[in-house]
Symmetry: C2
Subunit: 420 residues, 2 copies
């Protein structure tokens, strides 16, 4: 009773899924809660930066013309007529042979057009008045940060869908975003299937393993930027199980199941898709691991049927579910970032299909090197711990040697890529 | 009234700070909350993986001896005497010319020592009995995942202080860590100083700027793995301000102030350190930006006096505060990861001191390229948005050219480095 399945390419599979990927909504959160979220609108400068001509140093604001011809041998003396801290403003116009003590960031007083750094001004007092002596000349504009020189009002500083890092947080504050527009996180439900699964606090039994895929995936969902919900383990009973999936669909934006998608007799997820009248987008992909990854769609909602094998599950999530999550978060670069690396060790096993080998990325004198983690056998869980990259090995009849250039997909990156 | 300050090297400054860095405690959180935390204990395998000999494929468990001499021309027929789903166990010993239908991950039945992949077995029925026909021979051990072949009981799979990523989460689940030992997050308080500062929801005024450093730092603190607390803006009154710092110290593990550390007349943080009887570890570093970064210690608690200049503040945090936070999180690699990159554009300005230029990292055919962000002028905030690396330019009398190899410190990395 084997069902006949026709494999499609990874690119085709991603395209079919992305047809149903939809952009989510925008909500507002306090800026103190914005780190790690994704911008729900373009971040726009609401004013010039700097907002006024300002001093980049502690020192003295002067009029450059007063220093014309000044040298070490022929110094000039300027009278200190005021002092302004950052945040205060000097109201009177400053004369040609006058100077105003100014702090870093303070507004340049009217009339002044240059700043003398504190350490280059020799201060002295005479007859109760304060002066500075200068031993060089200044040009108009010396040591002044001009209005708008950093950023002009109206500039788009970061696009909608950008990950909010500390630099973006600084920009949000600079432009008065006390409440930050961020993308609403999609809710992603996880259901584990497999009668071999023990909950993690159960003691081990012959033939059984603890349910590790679920917790791996909850973390993957969070890393992708969504809110994970563990919906529990499926029933062994088809009818009951169908009801559980149907009910779960109302609670989430995206539903993931692990296991139950093989062609074996005991895997009944295909039956459930049929009963739900969901459209199966594909159920076989020309890739390893994860060839039985199945994705279905029901009323615009996506159901990811990932393999029960840990590495296949991991790969299936990152290739197919992550871009749907990132699109919901309004990112225009929802896919994993792709770069080139040198293969760090031999991978002699050829495969007719594209293989995604988990690996660890390192650098040798600035050159990316990707080392396949462990043996990459099915079920090898320990090698997942240090995996921060998928090494893409194209299908073919020969293996791969250390030193060859290979494509890698970065797992811990926030920039992403517009296409697979 | 300029205070004389003697600059020390960045390395010396880091060493002085790290003398007072202390390891934090361990607490337990549910595994569903463990993503992004740091392990509070070594993660140890509590059993062999696999825990029993198991099948890596759907197929048939057999005794290899029954297939001796089998070829395409000379096939062998085995009787199917049972079937086991994943999680169930076949109790009876299997005979030489018998086979048991087995699912991926299921335990190999007693007597069997090889697995035939489903697609290589031709199934048929005769006289109400089920059989498979095989056209090749098998060796003992073919297609079997052996007990412990992945991981032996007792193996340390990840060290204390490791960042919990999806792979680590899978391991935690596999080894029954329903409650996960994680490092307690340090509480890091931020106080902004500077009478030029407006709160972010205030309208702009001449001479003033919005307080962006605080929100940048709250994000940096969170990225480093700690809990940020914004304690508000300082008073302009020295006495009042002293009281605020003193009170704040009781609420946090680490205290950061921004601004107020220059040598100018209006910066009174040095006065406050004196009144607190805190030991100033240094107040001048041979680096740009951030040369006035000051760190003090009081009863084992560190007070970071970061510059009010945004880039200096950013750099000061990552070089000095981050490793203290990561040490609290029990990481043995608390410092920023250092790699080599090619400089992506000219940086003509020489500097007598080491310069940390914020930059954006990219890859060209697998080679790290670091491009300085913007002009890197003091106060340029927009270039911070895309910064994911510090480019370290050593002090000297000449500038740097595109294509030169430079050291870079990675800002978004979780592996870190044992020393600066």
């Amino acid at each position: 009773m084997l069902e006949k399945r026709t494999p499609i390419t990874v690119e085709d599979a991603v395209d079919r899924v992305m047809e149903f990927a939809t952009s989510g909504k925008t909500e507002f959160v306090d800026i103190e809660k914005a780190f790690g979220r994704f911008l729900g609108e373009d971040l726009i400068a609401d004013h010039d930066v700097p907002f006024f001509n300002r001093s980049p140093y502690d020192g003295f604001a002067i009029r450059a013309e007063g220093t014309t011809g000044t040298t070490r041998e022929n110094p000039v003396v300027l009278e200190i007529v005021g002092e302004i801290g950052a945040g205060s403003v000097h109201e009177e116009e400053v004369g040609v042979f006058e100077a105003v003590r100014i702090m870093t960031g303070a507004q340049i007083p009217t009339g002044c057009d240059a700043v003398v750094m504190l350490e280059l001004a020799e201060e002295f007092e005479e007859n109760g008045k304060k002066f500075i002596r200068l031993k060089r000349s200044y040009k108009s504009g010396d040591n002044i940060s001009f209005k708008g020189e950093d950023t002009k009002k109206g500039t788009v500083l970061a696009k909608k869908g950008t990950y909010i890092n500390p630099g973006i947080a600084a920009l949000l504050a600079t432009f008065g975003y006390k409440d930050v527009p961020v993308s609403v996180k999609p809710t992603v439900g996880v259901i584990a299937t497999g009668s071999e699964l023990l909950e993690i606090n159960e003691p081990l039994q012959p033939g059984k393993i603890r349910n590790s895929n679920t917790y791996m995936m909850l973390s993957q969902i969070e890393r992708a930027g969504a809110t994970p919900i563990y919906l529990g383990q499926f029933s062994d009973d088809l009818e009951l199980c169908y009801g559980q999936v149907k009910e779960s669909l109302d609670k989430v934006d995206i539903l993931i199941t692990t296991g139950g998608v093989s062609v074996g007799d005991f895997d009944y997820l295909p039956e459930i898709y049929k009963k739900l009248e969901a459209t199966v987008l594909f159920n076989k992909i020309g890739m390893r691991p994860g060839s039985v990854t199945t994705v279905a769609e029901l009323n615009g909602k996506l159901l990811f049927g990932l393999s029960g094998n840990p590495s296949a599950c991991y790969v299936g999530f990152e290739l197919f579910t992550r871009p749907v999550i990132r699109t919901f978060l309004q990112s225009v670069n929802p896919h994993l970032r792709k770069e080139t690396a040198v293969l760090g060790s031999d991978f002699p096993k050829p495969n007719p299909f594209t293989r995604f080998v988990r690996g660890a990325l390192s650098y040798e004198d600035g050159q990316l090197v990707a080392i396949p983690s462990g043996l990459d056998k099915s079920g090898v869980v320990s090698s997942l711990a240090t995996a921060d990259v998928f090494i893409m090995l194209p299908g073919g009849t020969r293996g791969f040697e250390r030193g060859m250039k290979v494509d890698v997909l970065l797992l811990d990156d926030q920039q992403g890529r517009s296409r697979i």
